[in-house]
């Protein structure tokens, strides 16, 4: 279902719906009137294009020259490929078997003819002359004119002089007719095929010497960097596979946070990776093959470093992050990210560097917000508190066996629970306990953040917790 103008129309129908008499282009209201139980989905042209590109990639094994014909066609140039699959018929069958969709196929000497036969011809038709003039895909007025003139088929039109056709139906009609008949060339725009970034060294004799291995790795990196440079890419992930002469394989993977093709940097990351291995690399009797693959690469333009300008700080930081992440593991590096909540433990989150959004300045706290502690206890620590009056600030509290006399206190700062996050939170008594926070300082000058969990009308005996420490 798609929006065309102001009406919702069917963009595509399933085989079953087509059997019920529904056709693409029909208004949704008409279709619903005929079949009230009609199930519809919004039309997603982007997903269609992606699926088409996916099929094109899958059919690459039949021919290297595949051009997508949006919205729903593919043109395969099988010149010189058919015999590999046992002839044209067998190739067609193999293509049908390789795709999960129903399709109409047509073979012709050139692409526009095959396209027109597939879209407008009957199954198995090879004769272009009997195709309807619709196959020229001319504007509506030109088609209407052709019909009025009694020209129903391509063959009938082709029999007329070109000058007369051009004069009556436009020059475009002649161009399209000549392309369809193979008299004018229409270049095919096949999908560019990128060879995967994989570089290999095979050795006649196994290589076991560390210096030799390092030299070959450097050479592989040099090759990879050359190709990346040609394609304007930078590596984000690299995978080194070392095949030992006894059949064992060792794989080393590294990742960079910025695309890079700096061999020194990549080599340093590999060094870190090797240093962090639990059991060190053992070449045994030597390596037969070394293979360097780049599974993930991103565009990276050529950089012009300034002569005097300071080095880019963010690049230096990214390099440090990569080195530490390669050694410690990416989950060990984290950044604080603010969250939209007024509860202190939910107002922030520790997010691993790899998933963290780009650092943005911390949201400024409200002007009347009392100070927050430097360190938060997770979970809050239960404490025993004696208060002067039940609703007042603590007078003395006991934490980890130590008694702290409160010298100065400020509060309460009352924070309600997030009742909207609870299943029955809008009902009285189910919204969670309110917290009364107090900022207190003991006799030694240590500042604590205590809270009483629950008001006296919410909990009969509210408990006290230590939630944070101030500097």
């Amino acid at each position: 279902m798609a929006r065309a103008g102001n009406a919702l129309r069917l963009a595509a129908v399933s085989g079953h719906a087509a059997g019920l008499g529904l056709v693409p282009g029909m208004a949704l209201a008409d279709a619903r009137a005929r079949h009230p139980a009609l199930a519809t989905q919004p039309h997603d042209p982007v997903a269609d294009a992606r699926a088409l590109a996916g099929i094109a990639r899958r059919l690459r094994r039949f021919t290297p020259r595949i051009a997508p014909d949006p919205p729903d066609g593919l043109i395969l140039d099988i010149t010189g490929c058919a015999h590999l699959f046992g002839g044209e018929e067998a190739l067609c069958a193999a293509v049908r078997a390789a795709t999960p969709f129903t399709m109409r196929q047509a073979l012709a000497g050139h692409a526009p003819a095959a396209r027109a036969l597939a879209r407008y011809g009957a199954a198995g038709q090879e004769d272009l002359a009997t195709l309807p003039v619709r196959a020229l895909e001319l504007p509506d007025e030109a088609l209407a004119g052709l019909r009025r003139a009694g020209l129903e088929t391509v063959g009938a039109l082709a029999a007329r002089p070109a000058a007369a056709i051009a004069a009556r139906f436009g020059a475009e009609a002649v161009v399209r007719l000549r392309r369809l008949l193979g008299e004018a060339a229409q270049p095919l725009d096949p999908l560019a095929h990128q060879a995967p970034l994989r570089f290999e060294r095979r050795f006649a004799e196994p290589v076991g010497h560390q210096a030799a291995i390092a030299r070959h790795l450097l050479a592989l990196l040099g090759e990879a960097v050359r190709v990346l440079e040609q394609r304007g890419l930078g590596a984000r992930q690299l995978l080194l596979t070392l095949c030992r002469s006894d059949g064992a394989r060792q794989q080393l993977a590294i990742a960079t946070s910025l695309p890079s093709r700096d061999p020194a940097l990549i080599l340093r990351l590999f060094d870190e990776r090797i240093a962090s291995l639990a059991d060190p690399l053992d070449p045994g009797f030597g390596y037969d093959t070394m293979e360097l693959a780049v599974p993930l690469a991103e565009p990276l333009g050529a950089l012009q470093p300034g002569f005097e300008a300071p080095a880019d700080q963010s690049a230096a930081l990214a390099e440090l992050v990569d080195r530490l992440a390669t050694r410690l593991g990416p989950q060990h590096l984290a950044r604080l990210v603010p969250r939209d909540s007024h509860l202190p433990e939910r107002a922030q989150r520790l997010v691993p560097m790899a998933d963290a959004p780009a650092p943005a300045p911390w949201p400024a706290p409200a002007a009347d917000l009392p100070p927050r502690p430097l360190l938060l206890f997770d979970p809050p620590q239960p404490v025993e508190v004696i208060a002067e009056v039940p609703d007042g600030p603590p007078h003395r509290f006991r934490w980890r066996g130590m008694t702290h006399e409160v010298r100065l206190a400020e509060g309460p700062e009352r924070l309600a629970a997030e009742w909207w996050c609870r299943p029955a939170g809008h009902l009285a008594g189910h919204g969670g306990l309110t917290r009364d926070y107090y900022r207190v300082e003991d006799g030694a000058g240590r500042r604590f953040w205590l809270f009483r969990h629950g008001l006296y009308d919410e909990a009969p005996v509210p408990r006290w917790y230590l939630h944070g420490l101030f500097a």
Partner: protein, 243 residues
């Protein structure tokens, strides 16, 4: 270690040497004063340079229980977006990571948290850290909680303790205050004690004299009649916001 810092007369505020960039500093503290020592180290490291700060957090239950709070860091002049938190499995890894980080010039500072004895931290390792910090100009601080001082190549060694703050109106705790004793300093006098108080206008810890005793403060003497004490800040606003 230090028996009672409060009894030691305070040194002149002008002689206070801030934790310089490009040097290695050791900050000793009791476990109870951890937040004060961390605030001291982070605020000192973060003040001199706008770059990112690396906080290397060690293993152990103590470290896992306490999480840095973004809003609290912002109060000490450190934008939490600048903070890179590194969690490591052992002390050796912590020192290696700190060394790695100190070699990059893009950072404002590196703070290493270490609780208890730190056998991996010896003269050689600390000398390496010193060299890396001197070359790159990154400020390095090793925070040592509940640990006896060990011989090291650090430029300064501090003992930090929370200090009673200057009370605000209505007996509310004032800005962060701490006592810092310079235990050791390469090429300089040591054994001096300063009382540092957070200065919100300057965004730094600044040495200052003794606070006015809260017992002599006029707020202490209760006015006649039943009067409800007023909070220093308007906390009642919280209720309308959260409810």
């Amino acid at each position: 270690m230090v028996p009672d810092l409060a009894a030691v007369p305070l040194a002149a505020p002008g002689a206070f040497p801030p934790l310089a960039r490009g040097q290695l500093h050791e900050v000793h503290c009791d476990a109870a004063d951890w937040a004060s020592a961390l605030g001291f180290a982070l605020a000192m490291a973060g003040a001199g340079h706008p770059g990112p700060l690396v906080l290397v957090r060690g293993p152990g239950r103590g470290a896992q229980l306490l999480q840095p709070c973004g809003a609290g860091l912002a109060l000490l002049g450190i934008d939490p977006a600048r903070l890179l938190i590194l969690t490591v499995d052992n002390a050796r890894e912590a020192l290696r990571s700190a060394l790695e980080a100190a070699r990059g010039a893009a950072l404002a500072g590196v703070v290493v948290e270490a609780r208890g004895a730190l056998p991996a931290y010896d003269l050689t390792v600390s000398r390496r850290l010193v060299l890396a910090a001197e070359r790159s100009g990154v400020g390095l601080a090793v925070l040592r909680g509940d640990a006896p001082p060990r011989p090291s190549a650090a430029h300064t060694r501090w003992q930090v303790r929370a200090a009673p703050s200057t009370a605000l109106a209505a007996r509310a705790p004032g800005p962060p205050a701490l006592l810092a004793e310079l235990l050791r300093r390469r090429g300089g006098p040591a054994g001096l004690v300063w009382r540092l108080e957070w200065n919100d206008t300057d965004g730094t810890f600044q040495p200052c004299g003794e606070p006015a005793s809260p017992t002599s403060a006029p707020a202490r003497t209760p006015p006649s009649g039943a009067v409800v004490s007023l909070a220093a800040r308007r906390t009642g606003a919280e209720r309308s916001r959260a409810a």
